[in-house]
Assembly symmetry: C2
Homo-oligomer: 98 residues x 2
DNA sequence: TAAACTAGTTTATTTTATAAACCAAATAAT
DNA sequence: ATTATTTGGTTTATAAAATAAACTAGTTTA
């Protein structure tokens, strides 16, 4: 009856990050940090997990002399996100099912 | 931008329980256990948390000689559930916002 | 009357989430 | 020029959650 909710996405911060990344070509650490209101430490940890899972790519570059970490959602990440959305919707509609 | 997700509902099992309870007048422990596929221990703990939060009422009765634990969602629980659904939807639509 | 089942609760363990502390380099102030 | 502050992070420690395993109390069945 209730589908498993992908534990990698069932996390407030990781879900927020994925929600942002799915709407843009790419986004850097600072942008994600500002938009999600996360602490840098927490964001760093959660980005690593999303990367580990193959849901995002993380590229470290330099912008002038300052480091820049750019993130981009992968096809696998898009699929996982869409699947998560579908799965959790079934919870919300549970009362309509047998 | 991203609303807080009620941590009491942002839990797979508690969300499943609330999804079930919102659709019925009441439900007992055994029913909830079967529908959610939870272990009894886990369900017991999570029901206690929902009760603590005032999201459900739990009544212990007897059915013949056997104990029976009946759960019922409260108005506060209904409100919290609807609010959670609304909040998480904003994540899914983040790409449409500024 | 012993074995197995029902309906749970309590406790212990593992996993997560999160913040706090830290680091290296860049820039600004004195 | 050297000290302070800021930027852009990572690592580590702690608190909270989820979960399973073990246990309890009573019932039914063999």
């Amino acid at each position: 009856m209730f589908e498993e909710l992908d534990p990698l996405l069932h996390s407030q911060l990781r879900l927020a990050v994925m929600s942002l990344l799915i709407g843009v070509e790419e986004a850097d650490f600072v942008f994600l940090k500002e938009r999600t209101n996360a602490t840098a430490g927490n964001l760093s940890v959660q980005l690593e997990k999303l990367k580990e899972a193959g849901y995002i790519n993380v590229e470290k570059t330099f912008q002038g002399k300052m480091p820049r970490t750019v993130c981009k959602i992968t096809p696998k990440g898009i699929e996982a996100f869409e699947n998560y959305v579908k799965s959790i919707q079934t919870y919300f509609n549970a009362k309509n099912l047998s």
